[in-house]
Amino acid sequence: MSKLHMSRRGLIKTGAIGGAGLALPTIFTSSASAFTNEPTGSNVVLGFNVPQTGAYAEEGLDELRAYQLAVEHLNGEGDGGMLSTFSSKTLQGNGILGKRVDYVTGDTQTKSDVARAQAQSMIQKDGAVMITGGSSSGVAVAVQGLCQEAGVIFMACLTHSNDTTGKDRKKNGFRYFFNAYMSGQALAPVLLNAYGGDRQAYHLTADYTWGWTQQASIQAATEAVGWGTVANVLTPVGAGDFSSYIAPVLNSGADVLVLNHYGADMVNSLTQAIQFGLRDKQVNGKNFEIVVPLYSELMAKGAGANIKGVYGSMNWNWQLQDAGTQAFVKSFGEKYGFPPSNSAQTAYAQTLLYADAVTRAGSFNPCAVVEALEGFEFDGLGVGPTLYRAEDHQCFKDVLVVRGAENPTTEYDTLEIVEKTPVEQVMYAPDHEMFGGAEATLGECNPGA
């Protein structure tokens, strides 16, 4: 049996050489790449992570159309869309920092675990330097967390929960879309004006993060203008038939039903509430009313004539008359044959905002991009002057209050804009209790690598 003989000096030498050998790849890595997926070739890859199957597939596919349009415009193809109206004039249609923009897509299926796996694959396998997408707040929060860990930027698309830029805010994540609190603040004065201050509301609420924050926000806002709250009933997501939840409403003493539902759930609950004849009834001597705090064009199309006269809120609508909106609607409409949804506009705007931030920073480094986006003020993307607030990475801009049109002329103008609520009315402190309070922080920027 052999025995190893080694002197103390020999051990130190061997250890030093071995240690240097182990450290060598790390040294090379850190000098070769300062951040995750630093683009070294002539192109840069963006990851579009949207639901292409499942309940929110239509929203996701509309987002994807807008992402593809944005890539075309960034690469100097098509008519340029909002590049000409965007107040920041850094984008010249020559890609981003001279690199041609390529993209990969993933299907989130509106499932958090699938969305995370897709995002991870885009980052690790495809080399995506930025991930964007989401048609559900649960998914957005999950993917935002992953991007923070991986050291890439996450430009959230359709996510309306307060938590995304509230208690779950992250330094690497940014949200252009408005949130549930803003919906409540914009809607309450309009509802007061339309239905009066002496009202009793009954809430049906989707039982997940978005539903909870939406309900809390609209309840607080309506109670602030004098309304009472009779009940808040949580309903399972995808319940289909809401009749057993709707039936007790008329006899509850409430004269307003607030449907904190989205997507197919909203289409079904609203349709069934109309079938029960709720809007034909009188309670407490007043006409019974229904409110849908968050609207989308695709939901409005699904609900058909049932949305007539029903109030809600939106981030953007193609019927706005500003130059940015008109440029985008023209580009999108001529390419696809129908007007874009507000999800599509968010997808398009987020892609341009990322490209612009990289250009202004002169680097794809996530921490440089974060610095460029924090406190960035811009205009020309559709809803007027906008601020990307540094403290929580939430965009602040005017909010649209809309109502189901009584006499739409086409299948696209089913919603009409009632009011453009000024941004000052929907502002709140970064440490607002509905957004995680003082404990909520962005944390540190993570460049990865």
Binding site: A55, E58, S243, N251, T271, Q275, G277, G304, A305, W318
Partner: protein
């Protein structure tokens, strides 16, 4: 009392849908011995028969209205349905308005053809295979069918309203001496309940009072002996598969004003319908119907938050685990009842000895 009547009524229409789907499932299981996980897809296809028929009825030609503009500022192209030109504005509008009931006529041959094609083309090859194989292949078939429907119709729900005559609701409360609005029930749900009662009655009458039905019942009891008598029982069972497809399809057609059709609706109903079949007793037609209504009504009662809140308050359970459990009872009530029934009556409510017990 008014709340009890209200939730009972609410349970009837959901129970009707469960009963119709479970009836078809039981017919197929009882005759062919196949556990058909594609049955929910037949319900969904039935709903899309109404959507398709609506699109056929609304086939239009285009005219340009120079007085209006589209979203790009061009003269608006307006679709004018041919049916209005052929039958006049009033009659044409009435036909469009009554699309859902009329589409029953369209759905019957379509569903019969789909049912027979499904049985002859795929399922007959799995008769002698284990139930696990049948479940896998029919589940796969259901996914394929729903993806095909999604490819053609998209993922969003498609509004399919009932005729305007049946919009709104009936105030049962006033008829029973309660206050106005105490017990309201939409007209269309009442029609759905009556329609499903007629279909269920028709299927039972067909099996009970026709020679064909008698042979099928004999085949369900003892397939080999009926075959030895020289009767082509396979052909009759294929027809029964087609009939079961029609029952599921019609349930779907008439459900469209209640639940806007989407490609996933079949899967949503399938799992609960299987629970209904198991609770009712595998292979028992009356059991499937009884369990369908029972579970639909129970689910309706469990959804009433005021009862649940009263129970929580009475037992001083606020903000405890039991509070959460009771308030979320509607999501698990069917499975809880299924567990209790299967523990006390392992063959289900009206199950027969020997079915799926080998």
């Amino acid at each position: 009392m008014d709340q009890i009547i209200l939730q009972f009524l609410n349970g009837l229409d959901k129970g009707s849908a469960y009963a119709l789907i479970a009836l078809g499932l039981t017919l197929i299981f009882g005759t062919l011995g196949v556990v058909n996980f594609a049955h929910g897809a037949l319900f969904m296809i039935g709903a899309f028969c109404a959507v398709t028929f609506g699109r056929i009825i609304n086939v239009s030609h285009e005219i340009v209205d120079e007085t209006k503009l589209d979203f790009l500022g061009r003269p608006l192209k307006v679709q004018v349905p041919y049916v209005k030109e052929w039958f006049g504005d009033v009659a044409g509008s009435a036909i469009i308005d009554w699309t859902v009931p009329i589409s029953i006529v369209f759905a019957i041959p379509v569903m019969l053809a789909i049912g027979i094609a499904m049985e002859r083309g795929l399922i007959k090859h799995f008769y002698k295979r284990p139930h696990a194989d049948q479940i896998l292949v029919t589940f796969g078939l259901a996914i394929v069918l729903q993806e095909i429907v999604k490819a053609f119709y998209g993922a969003n729900p498609i509004p399919t309203p009932s005729p305007a005559h049946f919009a709104g609701s009936l105030d049962f409360g006033l008829m029973l001496g309660f206050d106005a609005n105490a017990v309201i029930y939409p007209y269309w749900r009442l029609i759905y309940f009556l329609f499903s009662s007629v279909i269920i009655g028709g299927v039972f009458a067909f099996l009970q009072f026709t020679t064909f039905g008698m042979v099928v019942r004999a085949g369900m009891a003892d397939r080999e002996t009926v075959g030895l008598l020289g009767i082509d029982i396979d052909r009759r069972f294929t027809t029964m598969f087609g009939i079961a497809a029609i029952v599921a399809g019609l349930a779907g057609v008439m459900y469209t004003p209640i639940l806007s059709p989407n490609y996933h609706m079949g899967m949503d109903f399938l799992v609960l319908s299987f629970v209904v079949v198991v609770v009712g007793g595998m292979g028992s037609l009356p059991g499937a119907v009884a369990a369908g209504f029972l579970l639909g009504i129970l689910q309706s009662f469990a959804s009433n938050s005021s009862y649940k809140a009263a129970i929580v308050d009475a037992l001083s359970l606020k903000d405890t685990f039991l509070d959460t459990f009771i308030m979320g009872l509607d999501q698990i009530i069917i499975y809880l009842v299924a567990i209790v029934i299967l523990l006390t009556r392992p063959r289900g409510l009206l199950g027969r000895k020997g079915v799926m017990e080998e």
